[in-house]
Symmetry: C2
Subunit: 144 residues, 2 copies
């Protein structure tokens, strides 16, 4: 298995990249109805618990590195979707919160995202989907 000359399509890293690209493309397409990139939806979704989340926490959760997140948050602050508050307990930190406008948008985005998941369930099957999710979670766990 995974011999030096095996075609690239047999490598796990490639299959993951390919599947991710395809599913992400579909999601992008849906979210573009609201003019929002996937990363911004992730940010809103994480913040929609109403709690403050530090930039570092957020960066981990939404799979962006710090400088990229900072700049994306700048845009979202301009759009009044989120706002910054300095953490009173550790003034190095900045806590991010979702605004009311952000909440409204997040609800719309959630429904677009759920549409996609349902579409996947239809064409790919209930069983395969949950099995795939399980395996992915366990791969992520075993990689830490």
């Amino acid at each position: 298995m995974a011999k030096p000359n095996s075609p690239i399509t047999e490598h796990l890293a490639y299959l993951l990249a390919q599947a991710n690209r395809e599913i992400n493309r579909q999601l992008e397409l849906r979210l573009s109805k609201e003019g929002v990139p996937v990363e911004q939806w992730r940010i809103l979704k994480v913040l929609s618990d109403g709690n403050g989340h530090s930039m570092g926490e957020l960066a981990d959760a939404v799979l962006l590195n710090h400088p990229t997140l900072t700049k994306m948050i700048d845009r979202m602050v301009s759009d009044t979707l989120v706002y910054r508050v300095q953490d009173p307990n550790d003034r190095r930190k900045v806590l991010m919160f979702i605004s009311d406008r952000g909440k409204v948008l997040c609800r719309k985005l959630n429904s677009l995202a759920v549409d996609q998941e349902e579409h996947i369930l239809e064409s790919y099957g209930d069983k395969s989907t949950s099995e795939l999710k399980r395996l992915l979670e366990s791969l992520i766990d075993s990689s830490n």
Copy 2:
């Protein structure tokens, strides 16, 4: 399943992005020993069948869009890893070939990549790995 308020970590799109990021990061780390980005390894690997591949074909195979590929190929041509030949049968097309230097590099990269796959097999298990690959292939199929 996939209710509007489910946490982002339950979305297939997110799990795929997370797994892909992690595995890709590991692969990057290995390939950086030769100073080569993952995409260049993919390009070399596809070309290493010795046949000419058009830019469009390549772009599909290595998951890059056309302008990005063109610029990456420019760099690889400078490094004499690959070279361009105009397709005599359809002069709109450019056929890409791997050079001898490219072949040598590709062999080294293959072995680094195989190291990674073996490392995954160890920590994640033989059975899970092949099952995950199967499911990913079938997800990709069902998305077309």
